[in-house]
Symmetry: C2
Subunit: 146 residues, 2 copies
């Protein structure tokens, strides 16, 4: 078994900015739920596109959410995870929608009409790494490309 190490805020942020898929935990009237999402990071916010009728569109707006990314190495039993928490707001200002579109829009893998843009400004950022002798940033499965 391996000892967990805390990741620094800058490591957490670098990993967040490098990813394209994560999971959002949200509260619903029947308890917590988890939803995988494609995302992007614009400034200090996680941005996702969804439908106003989805679980996330219904219960995720104007609420505290937790967003998580991770990577596991099954062979060596090591890995890392980063959790960003904050309040989600619907982006409605056309200038801001345009700015997101021009800087780094989320690119959903799944089809579907996604007219709702949610922005989670993180107020809390934490991460852990399990196992020594390797660096999370050097072994990512993907880096987002311009």
């Amino acid at each position: 078994m391996q000892d967990p190490f805390e990741l620094s805020p800058s490591e957490c942020e670098a990993l967040l900015r490098a990813g394209v898929v994560g999971r959002i935990a949200l509260a619903t009237p029947t308890g917590p739920h988890i939803v995988p999402v494609n995302y992007s990071v614009v400034e200090e916010s996680i941005v996702v596109l969804t439908s106003p009728y989805s679980l996330l569109g219904t219960h995720g707006r104007d609420s505290m959410l937790a967003f998580e990314i991770d990577q596991f190495d099954y062979e060596y039993h090591r890995g890392w995870s980063v959790v960003a928490r904050g309040r989600a707001e619907v982006v409605t200002d056309p200038a801001e929608v345009e700015r997101i579109r021009k800087t780094w829009p989320p690119r959903p893998w799944a089809s579907g009409i996604r007219t709702l843009c949610l922005r989670i400004r993180w107020s809390e950022l934490s991460g852990r790494r399990l196992g020594t002798g390797w660096q999370p940033m050097e072994d990512l499965p993907v880096h987002r490309v311009v």
Copy 2:
């Protein structure tokens, strides 16, 4: 972009039983949280070991939780996810602790004293697959071994 397909309950269950790492979403006084965990499946329950003082040990017991596993193919933009939801109970009955230990104990990768055994009997099981021409069970990164 790809159309998502619902996974059948038996596919969801097979994927759950094959895995060793997932994430738990839980409600805390400051909002939802996500915690990566090693787990096992015993009968119709997800079983995890934690510390009574952890986030999960503090806010996860006797509460509704959501447990998620997934796999993403970054190259082809496809993947799958399974979410199991249910109420978490602390396993205290020594006979049941022993039965879990003998059938399929969770094997944590991270060190730490884990005296709290949580069991989530799922009351809801759902899953989605993105992309055609492949089968989630045939391309797993790991299968749990006896």
